[in-house]
Symmetry: C2
């Protein structure tokens, strides 16, 4: 084996992890489909975000699958506490990213699954269980949508770009002005995407997703998916996304445009 292909092989995400990620998404989807568009009690949390029974049960189901398959792996989820996060491999789980869409009957939510190796995301899944749409990205492999390879699209200038952000209210304080400048410069800016917008970016249907105030389980799954589809995803300073990022995310289908957008966000 040549040196470069050995390096690739070392970097590539093992197939057994890919299979497990699929099983996690299947387990979460089974539960989530049962609760979508049914009348259910919204359980309050300290931060008052709407959290559903489906959310908790789906995460518990995914945790059980990880523990049975790889008891030494760590787990970080939105709903329950961290476990073994010092382990070489850590699964980062968000059973329902976009709970506000979920409780409104809107299909723009999804299950996010990321696998970190020593802090670096090497595997990511965005799964929309109601529409049966799944994006998968893994180090050393092309990203896929419904099992077929996908790629981001080229976009020459900010003025040609279609941009999504989950909500205009996520850009407060120091983030408001750079975001507003960008919003005015793009061809089309839209709200309401959650994780689903990153999927459309990976599939080449939109050009930019810019957000702020996110938690690691909101963005880590997207990293291998967008990288493996030819795009770029970093924080607003261009740094790789990890557990310690500041929650500001800039994803772009066109890697050259990504650099230009970062300059605009830097002010």
């Amino acid at each position: 084996m040549s040196a470069p292909s050995r390096a690739r092989a070392e970097l590539a995400c093992p197939k057994e992890f890919l299979r497990l990620a699929g099983r996690l998404a299947d387990a979460a989807g089974l539960i989530i489909r049962r609760y979508f568009r049914t009348k259910l009690k919204v359980v309050g949390k300290a931060d008052a975000s709407p959290v559903t029974i489906a959310d908790r049960r789906a995460e518990a189901a995914m945790r059980a699958v990880v523990k049975r398959a790889f008891p030494a792996h760590g787990i970080l989820g939105e709903e329950y506490g961290p476990e073994r996060t010092g382990a070489e491999y850590v699964w980062v789980l968000d059973p329902i990213d976009g709970t506000k869409s979920f409780i409104s009957g809107m299909p723009q939510f999804g299950t996010l699954i990321a696998l970190l190796r020593r802090g670096t995301p090497i595997l990511g899944v965005i799964d929309q269980p109601v529409l049966r749409e799944r994006w998968v990205g893994a180090a050393g492999r092309p990203s896929t949508f419904r099992g077929k390879p996908i790629s981001t699209r080229a976009c020459k200038s900010v003025g040609d770009a279609t941009m999504y952000s989950t909500s205009p209210t996520m850009f407060g304080g120091r983030n408001a002005k750079p975001y507003e400048n960008l919003r005015r410069a793009v061809r089309l800016s839209r709200f309401g995407g959650d994780c689903y917008a990153y999927g459309q970016l990976a599939s080449g249907n939109i050009d930019l997703v810019v957000e702020a105030g996110l938690k690691p389980y909101d963005y880590l799954a997207q990293v291998p998916i967008i990288a493996g589809a030819g795009g770029a995803i970093t924080d607003w300073r261009g740094e790789p996304l990890g557990l310690d990022s500041d929650g500001r995310v800039c994803a772009c289908g066109d890697r050259k445009l990504h650099k230009r957008v970062l300059r605009m966000l830097a002010g």
Copy 2:
């Protein structure tokens, strides 16, 4: 036949019109599904809104079906000119409401079909051709989603309400302040719904849709659907929606709450 049931029978939308509306939605859907998430040229219009080939072809197909079935009926569509709009029955067609979602790969768009009798909407369809979701409302009949009766949900106070609006940028001038007051008062406000949000309101998943700057083909189909599901939909002054409305729409699943929201929008 007693006087009240005769009155109901006269008001009720004839079944032949219901069947035709279904055929129109089928014809549009066949075309629209073919173009969704494919690379296509966006044809510019004078108002610079993105209009797709699918939009034009779907409207042409629907117009042909109406003309064959009821040559005396009028037609008002987004893409082509008005025809016989002085007729007793006029079909109002928007092949793709939510073209911005459509071109972004997002499923929150739909085909809108309304039938007016002497200016009053007596039949409405919201059809999501990719998800195969269809809402139908007709005078004198309960509204349906995928063929099953639906009803809006009760919502006691503005502070309990989930509200959707297509975009925060639709509220300019005199509309900005009353909308912003309402947005701050509701439990949850979200953007990006287009016609799909009205469907979720009719299905009892959300409570409010408040918009401005709409054209008749953007809102007339929703009137019989929301009325027949137990909700209320008027302009911001509480007047029935018609061809001459000012484009400001307030839809509410709870009829009592609707009156309170109108008072807030009046300032």
